[in-house]
Point group: C2
């Protein structure tokens, strides 16, 4: 059972600290449900935020991309990075404009990335990316060949310095506002899949697999 | 009709430039559909990425929050900021692991934020936040009072230096891989609303309004 994270000065949630969560299991669940992280780094003295896919293996986050990517070339120098994953769970509608809010779960990670040079570790990370998106997909598709591996940079970031922030529940209105005759409550939001679209070049005898017909986040073993 | 943005060195899309889009209308559509932006700034020499709500009025983005927020206190000093909004439109499943991708629309904005001090402009920005989430809501709820306004910081950021990046369509496989007998195509993803949950203190005679029963993004005038 993973231990709770020890909050660092950077990961200690200061605003509304009752929403903070430092449990590794909670952090993992949020990361496993998200599809895209937002990577913040400093380039030429200025902040840059780029969305990208990711994968997780135990207490390590992996990102990847082309050797031509400025972000990856910068990060592999070991500069400071901040990676944030946000899930929006609902809209919170109060009786006053001021008390409107959103329900969300977010994870903020600080650290420095490390280039993965070991071939086996690199392949394991790429497997984690694919499986993060669709469980079981890695076994079904062609694995990366030597040329593809050399055209892919994989970086790792330890989840040592990470924290979660979570808001749940309905609105909290000022006492006098409860008499305002307007609907109040929560609109839950969910990321859902529509009907899969066959590739134009798909062979006619290949049907959509069941796990893709009923695609949900996070991907879970039955 | 708004003009296309002139790409700056910071907003010129370098990786896969054929995905770049500098049209103001495209940028506005992505911003109007999103609910949360990721704000990147430098604090104590290190990058920080924080998710937050936002609103747009013409060529200006507004963010807001508590005077106790370190992010807002930092940004109102006029430091460099990067704000990114990402919409995930689908998973792209190829026959090789390497060619898996996602369809997405993202906007990246660079600039410096300005504190809104004029009371009327501040109120207009707060109206934009509420209307960004639910069109028509502002008229139905109690407007911010003097105390709430003083407890809210609103910052503006011009959309002068902004660009979009968009991927659409199915997978593109290597020629030899088309013979692999695996399903390939796109799984469209959408942010959808579930049944609204009444606030526990809702008066029994208040029904869920139609626009909330059928909530979709972006919010549109009929």
């Amino acid at each position: 059972m993973p231990q709770p994270k020890a909050p660092s000065p950077r990961t200690t949630v200061k605003r509304i600290p009752q929403r903070a969560n430092y449990e590794s299991e909670t952090i993992y669940q949020i990361l496993d449900e998200g599809l895209v992280c937002h990577i913040g780094f400093i380039a030429d003295g200025q902040p840059v935020v780029i969305p990208t896919a990711y994968g997780r293996v135990e207490d390590t986050l992996y990102i990847h991309g082309s050797p031509a990517s400025r972000m990856l070339r910068s990060l592999q120098q070991g500069i400071d990075v901040c990676i944030t994953v946000t899930l929006i769970d609902g809209l919170v509608l109060a009786r006053s404009a001021f008390h409107h809010s959103m329900n969300y779960r977010s994870v903020v990670i600080f650290g420095k990335a490390t280039l993965i040079e070991d071939a086996a570790q690199k392949l394991a990370a790429l497997q984690a990316f694919t499986e993060h998106i669709i469980l079981g997909r890695w076994q079904e598709v062609r694995s990366p060949n030597h040329q593809e591996l050399s055209r892919t940079i994989v970086l790792s970031l330890p989840l040592t310095e990470a924290s979660a922030k979570i808001r749940t529940g309905g609105p909290i209105d000022d006492e006098l506002d409860y008499q305002i005759p307007v609907w109040a409550g929560e609109i839950p939001l969910k990321f859902t899949a529509a009907v899969p679209i066959n590739d134009a070049k798909l062979a006619p005898n290949i049907a959509v697999p069941t796990n893709l017909k009923n695609y949900t986040r996070p991907q879970k073993l039955d």
